[in-house]
Symmetry: D2
Subunit: 341 residues, 4 copies
């Protein structure tokens, strides 16, 4: 059975695992106070060209979103996000669970629009008293988005400018950041993200690690007593080495970028295959997630030999499904899939 079900169907990149094995019996202090974690921090600061960055490691994406959003917001604030944002719809209300509202803006291909954001903030701070409303205290974007789309440098810069004008931090969810950075057409780089965002995370779970996300506070803005609040959220790993060693490996010899590039190459191959066979795309995605509109009978036929994800019903006859590639995708699997189409 082929599988393009998600980008987390395999374990970790072999070098990551090998490093865990090599360092296994070294005795290290817990909670991120070990030299591998410190080394990973330093390598990430270098990759971001951001020497003042503060880097913390958490376990998974939803956890990271909830912890970052909750610890950065004042109690009377909410987070602005696209209606399709992961925090809005697919995290079981983890943000609301921390007491904060997700203030939703209409999405444009999964993204928020700087102009609409500005209008929203202008209205909020404009006429009338808004003391009875949730204050916008942060802007959340995902890059790539939940639909595989990417912000351009210009779009990202515009959003950052609006955020700065209103003194609202910008948070970028990079659960699949590697796949965004290695997308063929992107003009957005890691240092640019570090410069434009107040906080972002570099996803490991979907890009070569067993688990782990690296949160980067870009200008000495880690919330006070952050570690205590991470503990309070049940998110502090006793064996911090687990995330530290993995990220140290991923940021050695450009591994994170290289394996992300592979996923993009596989996605482009897969896209080409679907396109040549005349399939219809739900959205034009330049990253590792591809959304295809399948006729139901064809979907059922394909399900016999390949796993993919149900996304949503298009109508009675058609269904939108997702095929995901990853760092672990094999070329022959893509070729077999294309042969099946």
């Amino acid at each position: 059975m082929l599988s393009f079900e998600s980008d987390y169907t395999e374990g970790a990149h072999e070098k990551v695992l090998q490093r865990l094995v090599e360092t296994n019996l070294e005795q290290l202090s817990g909670y991120g106070n070990d030299h591998y974690t410190e080394s990973a921090r330093e390598k990430i600061r270098k990759a971001c060209e951001c020497p003042e960055a503060e880097v913390h490691f958490l376990v998974g994406g939803t956890q990271t979103n909830a912890v970052v959003i909750d610890t950065m917001l004042a109690k009377y604030e909410g987070v602005v996000a696209a209606t399709t944002g992961h925090v809005s719809v697919h995290e079981a209300g983890a943000v609301e669970y921390t007491g904060h509202k997700v203030l939703e803006l209409p999405p444009q291909d999964g993204k928020i629009d700087a102009g609409e954001l500005e209008q929203y903030l202008k209205d909020f701070y404009g006429d009338g008293n808004h003391d009875h409303m949730v204050f916008p205290g942060m802007v959340y974007i995902s890059h790539p988005t939940e639909y595989g789309t990417l912000y351009s440098k210009e779009e990202l810069t515009s959003i950052a400018h609006v955020c700065r004008a209103y003194e609202i931090p910008l948070f970028l969810d990079g659960a699949r950041l590697g796949y965004g950075l290695e997308s063929y057409g992107t003009d957005v780089t890691l240092p640019m993200i570090a410069e434009l965002c107040d906080v972002f995370y570099i996803g490991g779970t979907k890009v070569g690690a067993l688990c782990g996300e690296a949160v980067v506070f870009t200008h000495g803005n880690t919330p006070k007593q952050f570690v205590t609040m991470v503990k309070q959220h049940g998110a502090l790993l006793a064996k911090g080495r687990l995330t530290g060693i993995q990220f140290d490996t991923l940021f050695t010899d450009n591994l994170y970028r290289k394996i992300s590039r592979h996923a993009i190459e596989m996605a482009e191959l897969l896209k080409k295959g679907f396109r040549e066979k005349g399939y219809q795309f739900y959205i034009d995605s330049p990253t590792n997630q591809q959304f295809i509109i399948l006729e139901n009978y064809n979907m059922e036929r394909l399900e016999q030999s390949v796993k993919f994800s149900f996304w949503e019903k298009q109508d009675e006859a058609y269904t939108v499904v997702r095929f995901a590639t990853s760092w672990a995708t094999k070329r022959e699997d893509v070729e077999q899939l294309i042969a099946l189409l």
Copy 2:
């Protein structure tokens, strides 16, 4: 430098790591819906002699405590625990963060006393109206406790009887459960725990795993939509294989018990060494954590060559410190330590 700093200074048992390597490229569904996780569940059910048990895997201890307590309590309920309980004092208020009070009972060597528990519940449900108070909705015990002590079969049975009489679930925090089960003098077994408790967890982080705790609901009492609430807490691992494969290995060929036994043997060796050199014990611990009262100058001397944990000041001249053994402790390290005393 020797280290007896904690029982989480090494990575994972070699067999656990080896199994992660062997299965690494197998494509598996996420969120615990893989066959290794299912196999681990089945092995745990067998080890507990509890075929109807429902087993879920979480990442760490504080997270597990917060998730289990929050999902099992009604909104108007709190959890009863010893003042020294981990949930009371060392989890940064993770339980309160979920909106629930920890109702503290005075500890007896780290344990709660069935008689005191009964009196507390009798008073609560006795004279007067208690609608303005937090209702006791669960009893939390740790076994081993935070001081390394253990409940006897009789003590545990008495507490369970009180809980049943008042229809309050009993939750056992087994972060170091292996070390409790393998303690020389204990008469408490895993099936007994499964019979007496409503929910408990088998700790992996401190007993051979990189991370992971196995939560066991013993009689079909998993809270409704538990997975959704795990996600809401940011505690749902995308690559559920990580905990599934580790616990599957730990519960193969009795590995969990064997490596726990080793830690106990090392602790007994260490105890013997301290005792023979005339050191004073803060508490009589039959498990892997040993609390020693050191004269300050001697503590500073030892710190030159061995790592251990500060516990608390005894007085101006003496300090209580902890030495922990684990599945990974080397006999020669214990011997070297004893030579240093």
Copy 3:
């Protein structure tokens, strides 16, 4: 200065106040355990033709919404409401503060549509797994809505049917319920609301009381330990007599209905005035809140002699404002206002 700023600019109806004075020195038990509160409960049960109804008194609208929603939802559930619903937008995130998401549906003149609700629920429970999403656990509607509009008997019945089909309780926010019940064209009655809704509240603050809302659970469905949770929310009035006596008076001799009728008459007079002077209505409201589109220069002119509320900017030249009548509105004030137009 005339004022149509809101329906809470005066104190209480004189009979309400007089009753507070008459009973003032009677010694009564606290927290709603007094005979006036019990009498108010009984009168409300009668007015609702719902003998099994359980009635609780709270202080204000936002508080009531938060308490009812939080105490009725499971932890993994959210409340479905119109995007324009009071809970969605004007309660400073009070619902999210209790840990629950407001799941927003597009509004139709401030109302939710039974068909859209059904489609939403059908999608949620249909294809795909929704364990990572917030479960819809309650439907919230306001009647009158925040735009003064009303559900018809047919609309309300359809929504109730959808709720029952999906076993989701229906909650009606009646902050201005009197003005809905006395609207000229309505075919919705209080007994009908009691029959169709699982819980609703009869607003006092905006309809003749100094403060107070009467929450009605219609079929023995008061959440367990409700009083404890009310206390936990800081919403339990020590002097329960304050709300009990007020509602007892409002539900004596049909007072609640009579004073509501007056507000409607005043609103109709005001509407007629605006209409005859050629003003444009933002929405067709059959209740006590009237939304008018004013040219900005005219708005500024009127502001010299009359208070009203800014609602939203229509465009650069026009603004939507609200004029509210109430039980206390004087006919001569309406006439003076019309003369000013």
Copy 4:
């Protein structure tokens, strides 16, 4: 039937009620933006001799405690209180519901001791790392305490000094503040409280008002967006006039002090009666709450003709009960009670 059940068995002082009647039809803006509320604020500032004080009105005591504590604490902080403190034990977990732990100190006659507080803080910030513990972020005291006892000037000053040394705000719960200020032997004044505390509240519910507590932030330290957070807690009264007019009246012509004095005189009369009849006091209370140890048969006898509150069982034969006087207590009622003893 005589009643000494509590200090909230009557409505409001007649002057308070009369003022509500007189101002009833005046049209006023909501949410505390009216001139009576502003006048009340000014009078309280004067009574406190604290011109920079910021005064906000809330409805009840538990609500006030939860709002003040939650809005002043950082997310990683808890509030230090006596184990017997109202927030610790009789508010249904309202503080924990906001996500914050109550850090309990052993009580001395209902009070906390400056020395024990200092030791606790010294230990917390002393040896060892406390990142896994809840940070002490505020000190809560009640004056009078839940046992009717009072801090002396010296005790209060000592506590304030410890708080300042550790930069932790001091919060005084004055639900019964009038009765503390008018106690015969006290050397604590309102201006002194305003000088020593960072925030405190002047209780209205138990001292002459229908409802209402006046929160005083003493040095421009009202939390940012406080009104929004009050709304978020469901604690913002639409008709702010209700609390504003009541406090304006209570702080006119020294009314608050005069009626408090009456309650103290009645309490002293009652104490004298109990003492002369040889009754045993549970605690020596200089304020309006008196705790008496009654033999059970005598308690049952008294219950035939007088209401009082069960406090706790002393042993099998004796029970501790509370008799409360208030601004409304009639001298003849106290005399009748004494005759019954």
